[in-house]
Symmetry: C2
Subunit: 434 residues, 2 copies
Amino acid sequence: MKLEDMILISVDDHVVEPADLFDQHLSPEWKAKAPKLLRKPDGTDVWVFEGKQLMNIGLNAVVGRPPEEYGVEPTSFDQLRPGCYDVNERVRDMNANGVVASMCFPSFPSFCGNLWAQLEDKTLAITMLRAYNDWHIDEWCGAHPGRFIPLALPVMWDAELAAEEVRRVAKKGCYALSFTENPDKIGFPSIHDSHWDPLWKACSDEGVIVCIHIGSASGMSFTTMDSPVDVMIATSPVSIVSCAADLLWSQILRRYPTLKFALSEGGIGWIPYFLERADYVHEHHHKWTHQDFGGKRPSDLFREHIVTCFIDDRIGVRLRHDVGIDTITWECDYPHSDSTWPRAPERLMDSLGGVPDDEINKMTFGNAMREFRIDPFVHRSRQACTVGGLRAEAVDVDLSVKSHGGNAPVSEPRPVTAQDITQQLAQVYASPLE
Amino acid sequence: MKLEDMILISVDDHVVEPADLFDQHLSPEWKAKAPKLLRKPDGTDVWVFEGKQLMNIGLNAVVGRPPEEYGVEPTSFDQLRPGCYDVNERVRDMNANGVVASMCFPSFPSFCGNLWAQLEDKTLAITMLRAYNDWHIDEWCGAHPGRFIPLALPVMWDAELAAEEVRRVAKKGCYALSFTENPDKIGFPSIHDSHWDPLWKACSDEGVIVCIHIGSASGMSFTTMDSPVDVMIATSPVSIVSCAADLLWSQILRRYPTLKFALSEGGIGWIPYFLERADYVHEHHHKWTHQDFGGKRPSDLFREHIVTCFIDDRIGVRLRHDVGIDTITWECDYPHSDSTWPRAPERLMDSLGGVPDDEINKMTFGNAMREFRIDPFVHRSRQACTVGGLRAEAVDVDLSVKSHGGNAPVSEPRPVTAQDITQQLAQVYASPLE
């Protein structure tokens, strides 16, 4: 396959929420209570909600910067590439990168909308959550039909309400739900608890895939505060193995035979090892742990229920049949620092040597179309969906690397630690609002 | 290669300490203060130290039991296969399994001797630790020269004393030290702290390999207390990835170019993915994290410094050149429930289809001989070191599976959870001493 003939659907990107997020989806009374984006005297931007400054606006939205300026620091919209928060600019950046469709995870409300879930006022919580979902589906994804996979945030505090919200957004054409790796870690019943059954039933009934992003339980996980930040970056994807094991041995997959989960940003190269290990553990231990998979192996269940994805993963591509060729999707991670934008097709092509075209197509778009229920070809010709077709529409997009300044995590060139990053994030709150 | 011609060195087994452990290595005054193994009125055995009952005697020493009776429960020597604690019986069990040499991790003092490290009385601590190391080297390993790789416990609370103990045991021919995945988690400076430099320097000077066993930081790690215990069992090996990343990005490997670490019971199939990820992170992020590997990639450093091992790992064997063929060793995990005893050669052979003899030899014994500095051929002919040669000496070993009763973790056949296992362990303390 030629690079320009590839078709790319990215199942893991991120949106930096724009200031007008709540404008169209709340009554004036509720709008007064909604989070507001304010510019502080020091020039940084911050969401303010219930009198408190929230976590920084875009996590790690560094796309387009020189690598020297990566980090968690972008704290002003002036420091962001407009494609981070402006959907029209986003589509232009997708075109420049040859990506026909994208699923975008949230930034400030956290991956599972924990910002709402932690509110005492549950009426406020459900109102904000629904407004967010409506904005995401109607405005962000609705602006360019066929270019985005809508992704709803879950109601974490009430499984019946969660089911109701899933059914509501499914009616609007949203068939993906963001969840958390481990609800127990953020104060909710664990995935082994029958508490969640109404949610799983709704997702199963409506054909909604449950997407679990790395870092969606309690944020960044550090081995120690003096560890180099690279340790956290290197191990974050594979850390989702705990969630994968929880899912495999939960009753959920056995109870809902058509329900699907996606391990977002988890990578794929470790999965053949994990599946072999899972089968070994089952064979070796099930007689005393009283586990019954109805004659199947854990690896069978995994391949029937779990959708995986990768950014750049040569070993995983080599082992694609051991992962499960029909379970693999691709992601770009725009606008975070792991992203391969705007050279994603080139980087990906490098890993695909010797892979037959039909298998490339499964991994780069076919599996994503089926599992996330999106069909870009309804809106554009197949040729216009290819890397070559999209890039032809984006010849005017400025791809030059731009310095945006901002504060570096350390003042001298010494290894950046977990502590440095944590302090850098904490500084967002340190400067006064007025 | 024929099965009977394989030579097997296992770099990860476990000893259940016998009652006479401290008899030969302490003065009468100190012996009075040493841990004592007592039989309680309910028929269970327990180590008592400083007036307290310690964690159960053998962790998960279930070898020879039917799988229905696996678990953390063996709490009486009557329930253990004698090879767990009797070195002569151990060697017979090794012969029956075709294993010529074995390295044995401790049971009741914990993997890094944390039992001693937590004592307030540091004179008591160092005295007991040295006695333990002397017993392990002189009695356990000394009973059958060439059949065991001596493994010392570290002095966790004082890096100068730790270095001194390393030099002391090296003089006795002990070239392996057990350490912890994460000293920070048990109250000591992290591996990124220069605190440990004297220890690393001593290990480097003396050619002592630092062995890091899974679960050596804070014991078993559960996702939630209601998770099936299988989740913990399945993910424990790969959880050492955090320690591997800590080592890679620490200054230790760069500062001590000949120092070696072993990731004990970590498996190997995930390593090619991890190394690719490590190189990606370095390439992508080093300009802002200020990491300098002197022109090398993290994967280069890994293969120069880190020794890996596997029990049964088809994917890992297939990817042996991506792991690093010179870094791979094999383990049996006797007497724990993941062990393949007494059919380890058969199980291993199943994974080795198509692997050239010289590569099999590297993985099953050659790398272990070099990295752990043991030479069984000094003591026996090469033929006598093979699976066939050893099994010929063990024709009278009773390999029948034996029920030993004991308390099951659950009374009815329902999935066993983390909570069940934790309660089962807690029950050890619940019954009175007298």
